[in-house]
Subunit: 243 residues, 2 copies
Amino acid sequence: MLTKAQGKYIRSLSTTEGRREAGAFVIEGPKLMAEWLENAPDSVLAIYATNRWEMPRYAGRKFPEIQQLRESELAGLSQLRTPPAVLAVCRLPVPEPLLKTGWTLACEALQDPGNLGTILRIADWYGVGQVVCGEGSADFYNPKVVQAGMGAHLRIRTGCLPLADFLKESPLPVFAATLSGKNIYQTAPQHAGILLIGNESKGLSEAILQHATHQVMIPRRGGAESLNAAVATGILCDRLLAF
Amino acid sequence: MLTKAQGKYIRSLSTTEGRREAGAFVIEGPKLMAEWLENAPDSVLAIYATNRWEMPRYAGRKFPEIQQLRESELAGLSQLRTPPAVLAVCRLPVPEPLLKTGWTLACEALQDPGNLGTILRIADWYGVGQVVCGEGSADFYNPKVVQAGMGAHLRIRTGCLPLADFLKESPLPVFAATLSGKNIYQTAPQHAGILLIGNESKGLSEAILQHATHQVMIPRRGGAESLNAAVATGILCDRLLAF
C-alpha cells in the first residue's frame, strides 16, 4: 500500500527540479534494478515492486526492504508505456571531476531524452569515458534518459557545463560533423578527443563550431537530409575512436 | 472550425486498424508537409493548419484547400509532444513489388516506432532500396514512424511479409549481427544483400537466424551489453554497404 505522500514524492522525481530538490531519481524495470543493485547498491534508497518481481540474490549484501505494491499502484508511478514490475528511488551521485584524457562526447542543446540516453549507451559500448552537455540539453537523470541509457550512468562520467569554456580549455582535438567536413572514411582514428553533437534540428551553433579542430562528414548516398543525432554519434564513434 | 466527425476521423488514423480501414495516414509539421507537397502532392487529401503556417508556393500545382484551425483544435489532433502548425491526411500508397537487387533492411518484430522510423531514415541516407518487416513489428505508417522517418517513406520501398519466406527465396547474402559473429572491421563491404535487425530486447530468433549467410559483430570496448537497434543498424550500414 502506497501512501499519498510517497506517491507524490516519487512522481515529483519525473522533473529536473524535483530530482534536484530531493537529490534522487527513479530507475524502472528488472534490468536496471539488477544493474543498480549490483554496481551501486548503496545508492538504492527504496524499492517498490509488485509480486511479479523477484529480488535477485546477492550474497552478504543488505538492501532496503521491498515495498509491495499492487500493479495499478506501480503503474501510477511509472513513466514507461508498459509499467514494469519494479521501480526504485536512487540517490543522485555526487558529480565527479571531469576527465582530461581519452574521449568525451559533448552535446550542445540535445533536447530529446531518448537521444541523450542512447548516446550514453553508445559511449558505454565504445568505452568513452564521459558525456557532457551544454545548456538547454535534456537532464541526465530524466526517466527517459535513464531508461535509454541501459545502465551507462553507472560507468560513464557525466557533466553539465558551459560548453564553449570546456572546449577552450581542452588541448584535445575537437571533431564536429558538418556537411562540408572531411570524409570520415579518410580520417585517421584517434586515441583521445572530443566529439561534438548538435541540437536535433539546428545542429551545432557557430559559437561552438569555431572550437572544432576537425570537421568531418559521413558520406551520404541516398536522399535523406540528415541522420538522427544518436545514429550519427554511433557511426562517428565507430570510425573515429582508435582501439 | 473542425467538425466532430472530422476530429474523430483524423484521430482514428493513429491506429493501424484505423489507417487500414480509411486507406489513409497522417503527417505532421511543416517539414514533412513540404516533403509530401513536393514529392507526392496527389496523395495529400486534406490539410489542416493554424494561421502560423504558410503554404509553400509550388507553381502550377493544385492542392486541397487548407482548413484553418485554432491552435487548440490542431493540438487535439496531434500525436507530437509539441503540436505543429500543420497536419495533413494522406492516402496510403499502393504497395509496390519488392526489389530483388541491392540492399534490403529486414526487421524481425521491431517494436519501437521511433526505431523503425530511424531505420527508414538510415536506409534513406545510405541509399538502401527497401525496408521490410516481419510480423509483430511497428506499422510503417504509425505517426511516430512517419515522424522519425523524416520523409524516407517517399523514397524507400516498404513491405510487411513473412520474413522467413522472404529470406528463403532470396539469393542475396544475408547478414546478422550476433555476439559471436565475425569482426565487422574485417568484413568486406557488399553491393547487395539483406541486413537482419532483431527485436529490441530478444534480438533475432533462431528461426530467422538460420537464414543468415554471414554473422558479424561490432567490436565492443566498454561495459554496455548491447547497442540500440537503430544505432547498430546505422553502424552496420556504414560498414557493410559498398559504394
